[in-house]
């Protein structure tokens, strides 16, 4: 194999076949973030390569580099050993690289045939689309993959599985030589997944090189021939799937030296403050129940889409659960809106700061006092002096950096915006604070500040729920962790059991690791 071998397991090489597509030394940086750092990848004709890694390992960035959405800063892409560049998505498609995403871009109002051939329809006289030829070709491709779909049908009338088949037919219609499947089974039922496996087998027989991205280990071991593991934007291992075990893969995925330092904490757990019982939602989650004590930090871990944020937003009153009870300090409360949640003492710092957290065009002090206006006002009339006083107190506690309290929040950095959002909630004197991915997208320095502050809040007796996909953060900060998978709680770990291996094991549903 002509790739640089990773430090970990890389036993049997596959140098007997020439790769269809190979990447070497690909680096992609964004302001402040190195998303990919000199990574390699090789895809072979007629073989499936699984790309494995945690959330944030750089898999999505890689797909975007391969499909011409992002341009790498360094490195080269070769197809059949000839260097290529993909300045646009069209260039990637012309070179024969196509991706079937988690949510493939198809057009609901167009017909199946139009979706398959959009952008490269067969042309007739005067450059007009030759509809008859297009439909005939579409029918041919669809029957080739065993899909019984009418090319004239409107896409929106098809189910999810058939839409996937249309996406695959589209991939075949451009005569793709490299097919990228990004979490293709995420939205499929077991029977549909079986059909997809057969289809992948069919694509292999046609000699396509396939990149298969999945979090589900059973799938990877079922259909992949090779694997490549990324971690924190770097390639850490690759090899033949038959030579590797699930625990080995997990070790490669998470086996980092924990370089971040987390604050020392005195566990100072008090009385029970929050009890959630039997929370359910028709589609997002089921049977969520747990208790939370004063001074405790409860981590929620899971893969993206495990239903953690959805549950938290239901607890905060954004969406309505179909069943379930909440008790605060032993008394049952009804939460039908965020206003109810705030009144009950539950506050939520959302993941999407720009849209849900801060109101960019309002000044800092108005953002901070927005949920506390009842306290800073008199009979519904504003008292600006009181507002400034409250805003000053809480922004100082968080060490906010800003020119003045009258500055619009939109002009602050991400870390400082997050401080405004947290100040806003602390000013309501809550009992339970939910932090959803509190350090996502903020720099290392601000991260440490947020962690330190979280520890301080817990020490002062606040009950903290922290939703995070970052394993070091979960391990470093939590007193207890609840792991969710596919909308359900699958494990509750106490301090001693919180290790990267157990977290990933439960989140991905691997039995050995989970024991």
């Amino acid at each position: 194999m002509q790739l640089e071998p990773g430090p970990a397991v890389s036993s049997k090489t596959v140098s007997d076949i020439a790769p269809r597509l190979s990447l070497k030394g690909i680096t992609k940086t964004f302001p402040g973030v190195r998303a990919l750092s000199e990574v390699s990848l090789a895809l072979f004709p007629g073989k499936v390569t699984a790309l494995v890694g945690e959330n944030g390992a750089g898999k999505s960035t890689l797909v975007k580099v391969l499909t011409g959405i992002y341009q790498p800063n360094e490195g080269e892409i070769r197809i059949d050993d000839a260097p290529v560049r993909f300045p646009t998505p069209q260039a990637a498609e012309t070179a024969g690289v196509t991706a079937i995403h988690q949510e493939t871009v198809l057009f609901d109002e167009l017909s199946v045939a139009e979706n398959i051939f959009l952008g490269h329809a067969p042309k007739g006289r005067f450059g007009l689309i030759d509809r008859a030829a297009m439909k005939a070709r579409a029918r041919e491709i669809l029957s080739g993959i065993g899909a019984n779909i009418d090319p004239n049908a409107t896409l929106k009338d098809l189910g999810t599985a058939n839409k996937h088949l249309v996406a695959i037919a589209r991939a075949l219609s451009i005569d793709a030589r490299v097919v990228i499947m990004d979490e293709p089974t995420a939205a499929l039922s077991q029977k549909e997944i079986e059909e997809l496996y057969e289809l992948v087998e069919g694509l292999k027989r046609q000699g396509k090189a396939i990149l298969f991205i999945s979090h589900k280990f059973d799938e990877i071991f079922r259909i992949a021939d090779y694997y490549t593991v990324y971690r924190d934007g770097q390639m850490v291992g690759d090899g033949v799937i038959a030579d590797v075990s699930e625990p080995d893969l997990v070790k490669m995925m998470v086996g980092r030296e924990v370089s971040q330092i987390f604050p020392e904490r005195q566990q100072n757990v008090g009385d029970e403050v929050l009890v959630v019982d039997g929370y359910e939602h028709p589609t997002e989650f089921a049977d969520i129940g747990f208790t939370l004590k004063r001074g405790e930090i409860l981590g929620f871990y899971g893969l993206v889409g495990a239903g953690r944020s959805e549950f938290m937003q239901a607890l905060f009153g954004i969406t309505r659960p179909s069943a379930g009870q909440v008790r605060i300090d032993g008394a049952p409360v009804t939460i039908r809106s965020p206003a109810d949640a705030v009144n009950s003492g539950i506050v939520y710092v959302p993941e999407d700061r720009g849209k849900q957290g801060a109101i960019g065009a309002l000044p800092i002090f108005q953002n901070v006092t927005l949920p506390s206006l009842a306290r800073t006002s008199h009979k519904g009339f504003l008292k600006l002096a009181e507002e400034f006083k409250l805003a000053r107190e809480y922004t100082q506690r968080l060490d906010l950096r800003a020119a003045s309290l009258d500055t619009d929040v939109g002009n602050l950095s991400g870390g400082n915006q997050q401080k405004v959002v947290i100040a806003k909630w602390l000013a309501t004197q809550p009992k339970v604070i939910i932090l959803d991915e509190p350090t996502k997208g903020i720099d290392i320095g601000s991260k440490a500040a947020v962690h330190e502050f979280m520890a301080e809040l817990a020490a002062q007796g606040l009950a903290v729920i922290m939703v995070s996909s970052e394993i070091p953060e979960i391990v470093g900060m939590s007193d207890r962790v609840i792991v969710m998978r596919e909308g359900r709680m699958v494990a509750e770990l106490t301090k001693a059991d919180i290790t990267p291996e157990t977290l990933v094991g439960h989140a991905a549903g691997i039995k050995e690791a989970a024991q």
């Binding site: 809106s337 949920p371 506690r397 009258d406």
Partner: protein, 327 residues
């Protein structure tokens, strides 16, 4: 945390902010128009003529204040003129069965509030876009009025009812002008001095963020639709009283003049910013232009051209100014 650093409350004093505001610019425009008018016509600087001129904007402005709050919150109500027609028709029908002045006022206000509640329910209850909903109810409300009246008119309003649109409180100061002033103050206080007004701004800037901050977004918007309906009812009473009759075409096309007044007053049509003082000045500007052109015997259609040109130029000028400075 580390040592406490203090952040100043403000860098710019409120007075400084007012001086550089849109409202100050608009006030200069209003003064300019006033001076130009007094040179253009010898009849302009006459107390009674000026008093008459206020009727050009008082009724529309009453609705414009409520509309300003609605637009700042990111919604709009295009059915306001149709609500006037329906409220006026309801009052006219009540007159025919001998309802007195107090009863007429109650009916006018009630129809306004009910229409506002209907709009509010469709927008906040069912989550429909307000521009579509109120284009629909615009046809609906006025349609009902046309079905009831056809090409007929209701007359015979009681003599005391005439006070709302034709009465004077003191010398040249009309009842409508006083009402306009009181309503302006009430809305200025609601928008600028209360928690409710703060919520309106928050919603208009980022409705999701406001919801996630514990603001009852649906309730606030519903109240704003109720207020706009209520003000349409108030305007219906004043206008019907002033005209002394009801036709289904009453107040036809006013919704656009009202929205123009709000936008001219510096309210962002996309929501999030604007002030009541701005709308007050815009009301005067539009009233003065209409009145001045009327004195010069300019036909109505030309007036609407002038108002349209005024709107576009007042909005475009600051943009052109900054482009020119950058070039």
């Amino acid at each position: 945390m580390t040592q406490t650093r203090s952040i100043p409350d403000r860098l710019q004093s409120p007075a400084e902010r007012y001086l550089k505001s849109w409202e100050s610019l608009l006030l200069l425009v209003a003064i300019g128009i006033f001076v130009a008018n007094s040179f253009a016509s010898p009849y302009f600087l006459n107390a009674w003529n000026l008093s008459d001129a206020t009727f050009n904007f008082t009724e529309k402005a009453m609705i414009a204040f409520a509309m300003a709050l609605l637009i700042i919150s990111g919604e709009i109500d295009l059915s306001v003129a149709a609500i006037i027609a329906l409220a006026s028709t309801a009052m006219g029908a009540a007159v025919q069965i001998g309802v007195g002045t107090e009863g007429l006022v109650v009916i006018g206000l009630a129809v306004g509030v009910l229409c506002g509640a209907f709009n509010g329910f469709l927008v906040t209850g069912l989550g429909l876009p307000s521009i579509v909903v109120t284009i629909g109810t615009m046809s609906l409300f006025r349609g009902i009025s046309f079905i009831i009246l056809g090409d007929q008119a209701y007359r015979g309003y009681p003599p005391e009812f005439a006070f709302f649109g034709q009465g004077y409180v003191w010398w040249v100061i009309s009842f409508e002008f006083v009402l306009f002033a009181i309503i302006a103050v009430i809305y200025a206080v609601i928008l600028h001095k209360t928690n409710f007004g703060r919520a309106v701004y928050a919603i208009g800037n980022n409705a999701t963020g406001a919801l996630f901050s514990g603001i009852r977004v649906g309730r606030v918007k519903f109240i704003l639709f109720l207020l706009t309906g209520l003000m349409s009812g108030v305007a219906a009473i004043c206008l019907t009283s002033r005209l002394g009759s009801t036709r289904p075409s009453i107040a036809f096309g006013w919704e656009l003049e009202i929205v123009t007044m709000v936008v001219l007053g510096g309210v962002n049509i996309l929501g999030g910013s604007g002030t009541i003082p701005g709308v007050v000045i815009a009301a005067f500007v539009m009233g003065l232009v209409t009145f001045g052109l009327g004195l010069l015997n300019v036909p109505g259609i030309v007036m609407s051209i002038v108002i349209g040109a005024l709107l576009i130029s007042v909005i475009a000028l600051p943009r052109l100014w900054s482009m020119w400075r950058q070039a």
